[in-house]
Symmetry: C2
Subunit: 246 residues, 2 copies
Amino acid sequence: MATKVFVFDGREGKAQADAMKEGPDISRLSALIGDPARANMLSALMAGKALTAGELAYEAGVSAATASGHLRQMAEAGLIEGVSQGRHRYFRLADEHVQRALEALMSLAAQKGHLRSRTGPRDPALRAARVCYDHLAGAQAVEIYEVLTARGLFAASSQGIALSTPGRAFFAQAGFDVAAMERARRPTCRACLDWSERRYHLAGSLGAALLQRVLDEGWAIRAPDSRVVTFREGGQGALAALLQLG
Amino acid sequence: MATKVFVFDGREGKAQADAMKEGPDISRLSALIGDPARANMLSALMAGKALTAGELAYEAGVSAATASGHLRQMAEAGLIEGVSQGRHRYFRLADEHVQRALEALMSLAAQKGHLRSRTGPRDPALRAARVCYDHLAGAQAVEIYEVLTARGLFAASSQGIALSTPGRAFFAQAGFDVAAMERARRPTCRACLDWSERRYHLAGSLGAALLQRVLDEGWAIRAPDSRVVTFREGGQGALAALLQLG
DNA sequence: GGGATGTTTCGGTGGCGACCAAAGTGTTTG
DNA sequence: CAAACACTTTGGTCGCCACCGAAACATCCC
């Protein structure tokens, strides 16, 4: 017993483990996400809409008191942000980093067979076209992204993807202020993994601008209490014409 | 009180929450990752090397008995895989999906200020060049990726990035069997977020082939007990010449 | 064979945290 | 102003899980 490598008495062990950590503290955030009630809240927030504390309590299946505690913890950890509005308090995911990490976890869980049920939203309208944060998602959005990609409008960049030279010209000609977008800090283009389709769609400031255009032009309207995007008669065609699809 | 929206009695709430889940069960895996001991083990495995149960127990700062239990749980959940070799049992991350999810969590934790200490590995040699799974990582790898990207060798694809037409020609001419890679199921190119640099480097079968070439040609050697890659005299230049850098 | 080393199983202990009810704070409505 | 509503805080209970020691396998080395 002379050469025992390390001793545990419940205290030294902990201290050593602490000293050993060098990377980011992955466990704190994961433990937060790991509670079923909190995970349900986060999943509900993945839709991109802000929800009240009461709605989140309902989603999680816990009492308002318990939910409040959970929300405080997640807000302190930087996973979510809450803004008070009257007697309600609205919560949303803090930023897209959180969204991306949750996406990765959901994708992993699905791939590992740890899924609780079917993939993605069951509502056909949701699968077809919906809002993801501030851009368009769903089968249509995936299709659009793939067609544009096949046309060579996006190039790989050190940050992910970016507009290629023809892409820059194309979107400028389509009426987007590409130059302003590329000056801003936010990435112009980002490939965002689609929740229901498991393929990519367009995000970033260009993706947001595209959704804005669709709504501004009245080609589609956003349902007030869901993230469904409903195209009006001719809206699809107008969007296809703008992007010169097929 | 006629229109009370929902009732909690502690049992209906739970049942309701279960029925409500539709997405993947994100909480199970997150709870596993959320324990500090398990998170330390996973962080240690992020280097890509297989480690024995004892080594992982030491990394986590827990007894061998406790570690064994943790490892069993993570293996059952599909996070890690263990192979017995003699009286040792070697564990590694199950696949690159796990790696990607952990990367996303580490990135998020770092960005949220939840880091326990400095970013990435402290060892300068590790920061410069190391192995990430089966490809090259570190400052050099990031630099290489950015130069190649700036030359337009990669294009955005529906799967992430892919070889552009000039890229395909370039690598074929450099002696890589590009056609075979693109026939295989594994993505030829993938942008992998670099642990220490926080920027992308090249992964996928092309990234693996590149590392293989570097090792085969004797331009660099892989240290036996770490993931450091040490370039020999002239190795850097030979690699730069192959890729026509600078 | 025997002894050292590595890993797992078993039994029992302890502590952390999720949970709710009830009371407290702030906001809207009548 | 009072009453209803939305949320948060407090106090206390309970269950789960990480943890260890000891013992049981398993494997290698001499």
